[in-house]
């Protein structure tokens, strides 16, 4: 690593010296190094290396805070373990805060004090971003979204072709002859968004949701340009870039005069748009923002769609995406949709707010240099799935779908991975 310049260090430390509120100062002063958080972290549990202990991750940022922002740290750095921000420290931070944490927040709930460890990890990532030290692989994903409007850099022409192909394919199915996938239609109730992995690798999940919209007689549209629900600015720690990406969707809703922005099945994208987006933008949304799972549940509860759980007869389990459940409050919403759609549902253990991350969160799927680690920490999830005996794993997050698919292959689980839209579409009962 090149020697850090004063400008880089100052930019990073500014984040610690000028906190926006009392949250940062609180969590940087609260850890007591009890070490009891270790067992709640999938990295520490599977890799068994002390550097992955959540308290050590907090300590990285806190030691810098003490060194530069506290009197004791300035006078007696050895007493309180106050560290200099130098090249060695930056390298350790990159390895552990980017490559050794999915920011799933499981350790937060189980921390004996209540330190928001995931939040501190993101502050550490913000510091690295301020120094221009985001791993190139992750930054490339963000750059693609900034430059093309979607994180995979899919050209509009290719996207439109895929949508038209999916529409024709769907219309060949019985009961869906008149179903459409509208593009850039103004004045709709719903502007629906996608994870770019859908048009690229999982186009059937688009037609699955189109079927649900058709069955519910919804007024909806996709944008042909700004449809990407993901926001890797949440993971690279650059709030400015996260704000630009959030603005893509914000402006598209206004442009197409849609009433509601519906977030496709993407955990971090939903979080980054629903919860963090207004803060990145510095303004509240002028329209309603909801996840697609909540919308589907509205259809079920109001009778706009009818489901026959017997059409999904195989044993199904649910993987709770961290950003939708532990960090998004959709614990029961996910269960409602899944239970209404399948005949044989079994929970993982643990599940819900205690569920383990799949290992693909935090931008891990974008950082290929940590692939080996990512698959190793997924062992916990693989064992959880195997223990349920389920043949189908449902999860409303395309990053989770990706990671779970790789885990199924790597650990020979032999399970199908589906989104909620897919399992709901499979259970749809169409009126003749």
């Amino acid at each position: 690593m090149n020697k850090l310049t004063k400008a880089q260090i100052d930019a990073a430390l500014k984040l610690l010296k000028m906190p926006a509120d009392s949250k940062l100062v609180t969590h940087l002063n609260a850890c007591v190094h009890c070490g009891l958080c270790g067992t709640s972290c999938m990295y520490y549990t599977t890799l068994k290396e002390p550097r992955y202990m959540p308290a050590r991750k907090v300590e990285m940022v806190a030691s810098l805070y003490r060194r530069y922002c506290t009197l004791t740290g300035k006078i007696f750095p050895h007493l309180v373990h106050a560290r200099e921000l130098d090249e060695q420290m930056a390298e350790e931070m990159i390895d552990v805060l980017f490559g050794g944490c999915t920011m799933c927040g499981r350790c937060v709930k189980h921390c004996s004090i209540g330190v928001d460890i995931a939040y501190i990890v993101r502050v550490g990532r913000q510091m690295l971003a301020a120094m221009g030290l985001v791993p190139a692989t992750l930054q490339a994903t963000v750059d693609a979204a900034l430059n093309t409007g979607n994180n995979m850099g899919i050209p509009t022409e290719e996207f439109v072709d895929t949508i038209q192909w999916m529409e024709e394919d769907m219309q060949s199915e019985e009961g869906f002859e008149k179903a459409t996938i509208p593009l850039d239609k103004e004045g709709c109730h719903v502007l629906y968004t996608l994870n770019p992995r859908e048009p690229k690798f999982f186009p059937l999940s688009i037609s699955a949701m189109a079927k649900v919209f058709y069955a519910a007689k919804e007024s909806w549209t996709l944008s042909s340009t700004m449809y990407d629900v993901t926001n890797y600015g949440l993971f690279n720690g650059n709030n400015e870039q996260a704000g630009v990406i959030a603005k893509h969707l914000h402006d598209e809703v206004l442009k197409l005069k849609a009433e509601t922005l519906i977030l496709g099945e993407c955990g971090h994208g939903s979080r980054a748009t629903r919860w963090e987006g207004p803060n990145y933008l510095g303004q509240a949304y002028e329209f309603e923002v909801r996840t697609v799972v909540e919308l589907i549940n509205d259809y079920i509860r109001s009778g706009r769609i009818k489901l026959n759980p017997a059409l999904n007869a195989e044993k199904v389990t649910l993987h709770d995406p961290c950003n939708l459940v532990r960090n998004g409050g959709l614990l029961q919403e996910l269960r409602f949709a899944v239970r209404q759609s399948c005949a044989d549902f079994v929970e993982m253990n643990p599940c819900g707010n205690d569920n383990y991350c799949c290992g693909g969160g935090g931008g891990q799927l974008a950082m290929s240099e940590y692939n080996e680690r990512r698959l190793k920490i997924g062992e916990i999830k693989a064992n959880q799935i195997r223990a349920t005996g389920a043949k189908v794993v449902v999860t409303p997050c395309h990053n989770c779908v990706d990671q779970l698919t790789q885990l199924s292959h790597h650990y020979k689980l032999n399970v199908k991975i589906k989104t909620i839209a897919e399992i709901v579409a499979d259970a749809l009962v169409m009126e003749k």
């Binding site: 906190p19 926006a20 509120d21 009392s22 949250k23 100062v25 609180t26 002063n29 609260a30 850890c31 007591v32 190094h33 009890c34 070490g35 009891l36 958080c37 270790g38 067992t39 709640s40 002390p50 202990m53 308290a55 050590r56 300590e59 004791t72 050895h78 007493l79 309180v80 373990h81 937060v108 709930k109 189980h110 921390c111 004996s112 004090i113 209540g114 928001d116 629903r274 919860w275 987006g277 207004p278 803060n279 933008l281 510095g282 303004q283 509240a284 949304y285 923002v289 459940v325 532990r326 960090n327 998004g328 409050g329 614990l331 029961q332 269960r335 409602f336 239970r339 209404q340 819900g352």
Partner: protein
């Protein structure tokens, strides 16, 4: 007033002052300004964060580490008891009344004996276990030892303070050291612990994660 009592009193005042400044800074910085549309209740989240969320069955840090968790709870109860006794002993009429009740002093000493042992257990665990040793730095050891000695000397005070000048001097000097050191290192979590619970309750309450949602009737 004896000089060592004055020293302890001054240290306590300094401690309250500095911690008060920390508290004022938190107030000045204010709570998070979240522009997203709230889904749950911050008040309920904060209440849950400080009550049910702290129950041992809710935390792996508790139910997967019961001996350490229990030792930590007893240790902290001992600290708060010692702090209470320090305040009482600084008031001469209360001090005289307290030492007139031998059975109460014996009971308090017994409680402090248990909490002191817990303090030493946690201290030696930090030294002996490799992952704890690697996680710890000087401040952790000084903080742990200071609070354990505080309890040990409160225990001794309960046994001997009425008649021993030597114990009195040592007790008040240990108290003075603790109060002097408290705002310096991690013992500051005396304040930041409560702030952390607030922020956690705010975060999860806003997003309707806490209190946990009741199961919907799916039938």
């Amino acid at each position: 007033m004896d000089w060592y009592r004055i020293v302890a009193l001054c240290a306590a005042c300094y401690c309250v002052l500095v911690m008060g400044l920390h508290f004022l800074r938190l107030i000045r910085l204010g709570k998070p300004k979240d522009l997203s549309r709230k889904s749950g209740s911050v008040a309920k989240g904060v209440a849950y964060s400080n009550t049910a969320a702290m129950m041992p069955n809710q935390k792996e840090s508790a139910y997967m580490h019961l001996p350490t968790y229990a030792a930590g709870i007893v240790f902290h109860l001992g600290i708060f008891l010692s702090l209470l006794l320090f305040i009482l002993l600084m008031i001469p009429p209360v001090e005289a009344w307290l030492f007139s009740l031998e059975w109460l002093c014996a009971l308090l000493a017994a409680c402090l004996c248990v909490s002191t042992v817990c303090g030493f257990v946690l201290f030696f665990k930090r030294i002996i276990k490799k992952e704890m040793r690697e996680l710890s730095h000087l401040d952790d050891f000084v903080s742990n030892l200071s609070t354990t000695m505080f309890q040990l000397f409160t225990l001794l005070a309960m046994c001997y303070l009425g008649g021993s000048r030597c114990v009195s001097t040592a007790y008040y000097l240990v108290c003075a050291w603790l109060f002097f050191y408290l705002p310096v290192g991690k013992l500051r979590h005396l304040l930041y612990y409560f702030a952390a619970r607030y922020h956690l309750g705010f975060f999860y309450g806003w997003r309707n994660v806490w209190p946990p949602q009741k199961k919907e009737n799916h039938e």
